[in-house]
């Protein structure tokens, strides 16, 4: 008999990073070695993480497929499942189903400049592809990351931001909303779209990957257009409420497109064809 598609892998939490007061990153290892060996995923895919007794929640895999042997996820305490996840400790078991969905076309991007733009808790779904391309650094030209959050304490992956900042082959611009800075803050102050306009990266031979809250997307798109980016060269990852992850439960569709099967990665060209239902 074939497998139960609703049955998650059992994963052990091997590390927990407290990114912000309400955001955690878990490093998860397969409890079963056989499953670990068979498992593979690509940048952009997501999974269903579960606390047994509380339910499942959907997030992107936040670690890079180039880093083998574990997966990572970053989540904000928001609902029933994420609140219970946040109460777990190292050594505890969580369930994971996946990977689901499509991937960032990083092979197509080879030889191009990459511009990553993220806001707040939207860096985790991009972290996977960022590390993936950094780990294959020689295949890509300039890598620029623009990342903003409301306040300094809302910035996630603080250690990695430091690492990217120190690397000569990556250009990192961090910003916080006006009023969100601390006396020690040395990054930009201002909303992501304004900062992007100021930095004005070239759109020549460049792919932009954009992810953030709807309001940020709304104001960043005109800036990208002004900079000369074409719709097909802008990528984002959508999220909609999901239960199953494989196009059956009927929640995530945007028109006839299933975010769980056809997404979560879409080019802006594709997004323009979707009805406004996301």
């Amino acid at each position: 008999m074939s497998e139960n598609i609703y049955k998650p892998y059992l994963m052990e939490i091997v590390n927990i990073v407290e990114e912000t007061p309400d955001v955690r990153t878990f490093r998860l290892k397969f409890k079963n070695n056989e499953e670990a060996e068979k498992f593979s995923f690509k940048a952009g895919q997501f999974g269903e993480y579960s606390v047994f007794g509380e339910g499942e929640s959907t997030f992107c895999v936040a670690s890079s497929p180039t880093r083998k042997g574990y997966i990572e996820c970053t989540f904000r305490k928001a609902g029933r499942v994420t609140n219970s996840l946040a109460n777990l400790e190292i050594g505890d078991t969580v369930g994971f189903r996946g990977p689901y969905g499509n991937t960032f076309p990083i092979e197509e991007w080879e030889g191009k400049n990459l511009l990553y733009i993220a806001g707040g808790i939207a860096l985790p779904p991009m972290r996977c592809v960022i590390w993936n391309t950094i780990d294959l650094r020689e295949k890509y030209k300039d890598i620029t990351i623009v990342y903003g959050a409301r306040t300094v304490s809302d910035l996630v992956y603080k250690d990695e931001l430091k690492e990217w900042e120190d690397r000569p082959d990556i250009k990192l611009i961090t910003t916080v909303d006006p009023g969100g800075q601390t006396p020690e803050w040395r990054g930009e102050i201002g909303f992501v779209p304004m900062v992007l306009e100021k930095v004005a990266p070239s759109s020549d031979n460049t792919v932009a990957i954009l992810c953030g809250p709807p309001v940020m997307i709304k104001f960043t798109m005109p800036v990208l257009k002004k900079l000369g980016f074409k719709d097909k060269d802008i990528y984002t990852t959508l999220e909609n409420r999901m239960k199953c992850g494989f196009g059956k439960c009927g929640r995530c569709n945007v028109g006839k497109v299933f975010v769980c099967k056809d997404g979560p990665v879409f080019s802006y060209e594709q997004i323009l064809e979707l009805p406004e239902e996301y």
Binding site: G53, G91, C244, K248
Partner: protein, 336 residues
């Protein structure tokens, strides 16, 4: 396989029922005190309804139960375990007395549950199912199977289709191998078929589903949706009585450390169905949800699942507390 036609006498029908229920569970329609018809497991033959137009609920419960366990678990934090459902334990069931719209719905459900990723829970239940369909000799204004490409005597989804003759006997069309196996197991109950035509009700064609599908391709922003869904109160009655609606929710329930993860019916008509934890809701108002319901069945499914999402049973309309009549709306939609 080629269909063969046999005769089964009124008296032999009861024997067939007894024969089938001897070896497996039988799911058959029963008329309740309040005149509603509901399917029950193993009712005595005397109680089985045969003159009803439609049961209150569809028969999808048999392959897609309203609550179905996905697995059991024990949460010991560091040493949690999962116990799989033993799908082979799903019993053999005979569905008796379902009308062609209901039997055709199994194919529609399959197109949802088995596209791309195969759902074993559904597939196993279908595999264990034998369907004795009954062609319709009665219909009402809610019926519109003929508008969805079916007919009151369609054999789609049936293993054996019975059609009533004037004198109360039935002709039996043996459609599949499963049906053939039944014929082989009790050949004495069947006789050579007469030349007589069975009594089949006439169901008026109300709209062309191809035309509706074509119109819907460009109707997402049409004012039709708001105008025609004002009276919709946003309950899930239409989805829950529907033979093809397959949206579900997944939930956990525990007692102490032990628990189960199960799925249960859900409906796209509910306001919180698509609500994100952030508070954002892609379908904020009822007209958007009503549009999703129609679009899913008549536009998205033909496009993605190569199957129309509706069999024209009319339950959603007859069960609606505010008379949201789907065939009336589709008729209007084909002319927008």
């Amino acid at each position: 396989m080629e269909t063969t036609r046999k005769l089964i006498r009124k008296q032999s029908l009861e024997k067939l029922y007894a024969h089938l229920s001897g070896s497996r569970k039988i799911y058959a329609p029963v008329t309740a005190a309040n005149k509603q018809v509901d399917y029950k497991y193993n009712p005595p033959y005397a109680e089985v309804a045969s003159d009803h137009i439609r049961s209150t609920l569809s028969v999808k419960n048999i392959v897609f139960p309203k609550v179905e366990n996905l697995f059991l678990f024990t949460n010991n934090r560091t040493e949690s375990t999962i116990t799989d459902i033993e799908l082979f334990k799903i019993p053999e069931v005979v569905l008796w007395g379902a009308h062609p719209c209901d039997t055709a719905a199994f194919d529609v459900l399959r197109s949802i549950f088995c596209w791309d990723t195969k759902d074993e829970f559904f597939s196993q239940r279908v595999e264990k199912l034998t369907v004795i369909g009954f062609a319709c000799h009665k219909s009402d204004d809610y019926c519109f199977c003929t508008s969805t490409g079916l007919s009151p005597d369609s054999s789609k989804g049936s293993d054996i289709l019975l059609s009533r003759l004037q004198n109360g006997d039935y002709v039996a069309d043996i459609i599949t191998e499963k049906g053939n196996a039944i014929l082989d197991s009790c050949p004495g109950l069947f006789e050579a078929a007469p030349d007589e035509k069975p009594v089949i009700t006439e169901v008026k064609v109300k709209f062309s589903h191809e035309q509706v599908t074509a119109k819907l391709a460009n109707a997402f922003e049409h004012p039709f949706w708001i105008e025609n869904s004002l009276r919709c109160i946003g309950c899930g009655a239409c989805a829950y009585v529907c033979p093809t609606c397959a949206c579900f929710d997944i939930q956990d329930e525990t007692k102490g450390k032990n628990g189960k993860r199960y799925r249960s019916w859900d409906s796209c008509g509910f306001g919180l169905f698509t609500l994100h934890t952030s508070g954002h809701n892609p379908r904020q108002v009822q007209s958007q949800r009503w549009r999703q319901r129609i679009m899913h069945k008549f536009s998205y499914m033909p496009d993605r699942n190569e199957s129309l999402g509706c069999v024209g049973c009319g339950r959603c309309s007859s069960g609606c507390p505010v008379d949201m009549n789907i065939s009336e709306q589709l008729e209007a939609l084909q002319n927008i």
